[in-house]
Symmetry: none
Subunit: 162 residues, 2 copies
Amino acid sequence: MSYESFIGYALNAVDTKNRLSIPAEFRDAIVARSGTKDLYIGPARGLDCLIGYDKSYHQVLQNRLDAQAVDEETAEGAFRAMALFGSTSAFKIDDAGRIVMTAGLKDLGDIAGHVWFVAGGNWFQMWNPYRFLEQAGVEPRMLRILRREMEARGLPMTEPAR
Amino acid sequence: MSYESFIGYALNAVDTKNRLSIPAEFRDAIVARSGTKDLYIGPARGLDCLIGYDKSYHQVLQNRLDAQAVDEETAEGAFRAMALFGSTSAFKIDDAGRIVMTAGLKDLGDIAGHVWFVAGGNWFQMWNPYRFLEQAGVEPRMLRILRREMEARGLPMTEPAR
DNA sequence: TGGGTCTCAATGGATATTCATGGTCTGGAA
DNA sequence: TTCCAGACCATGAATATCCATTGAGACCCA
């Protein structure tokens, strides 16, 4: 695959109306990859964060599921399909480059006031920055970058009560 | 692969608006190698500097990642992809041959007023000149060349406080 | 070989555009 | 009517784009 890749990172705020700006670079990549402004967001497997991707990669995931010849009438197959489709939401990015976070997604990703976007090529992750700092196995450099961004915005380094 | 190689060195200034001229020779190599003006910059592994490369070499790195055949939907696979894509920045070189250094990159590479570019074939390194002078294992000849460049620009040989 | 001219790279400054974010308005559901 | 979601408008900061300057080197010609 030689699509445009998701590259880089960003730390954006969720406002009082649950609106969230998608980083401009990611928006451009979404359009370049899929030709649409559609953004799919679901839970990340095995990590305490969300994962976002464009329509073309959603297709890839679906094909992968199909290729596994999962029988959707078995319990296992049904659960797999549900994991992909059930908890995933599709958004259309508005003219200001934002989406409205649903309560369900905020809950899934443990999202509060800010979202830490980190690119992974064909997708990007969306973290509660404090969950990211606590996460084992993260490249120390990425932690350093995030701390710097939090500092630049005056965010406390330890999570405020909510 | 027999692309055009990155060859040579240069010492360029970062201005008050964080703009940085990419050496003309490197710019030409980027276009010759990839057909684009895209420049990727990320942290160098194990060295206190940044590494820059063109799109074709980025593809090589990506293929190397794919070859490891790590399922990117596992936590480990995701972290690997993030180490490559997350901490890297993509720039489009402007008509004057410059990019704008982000705060994050300056921090990662400990970059201040000047950048010392050193070619390495398929990529080039970007150093804070004082970090380069301190670096163990560097060819003495390269140190001499850098000192000469610094002198020509009136830079002090010991790092000024910042 | 020495001057003179020309070109281009690196850099500086001014202006225009975009981004992230906040607020306001309005129509329709409750 | 009251409340909420969505469309629309507003703004400051960050970024990109455009034009100007200077100095070094390439080139040419007598």
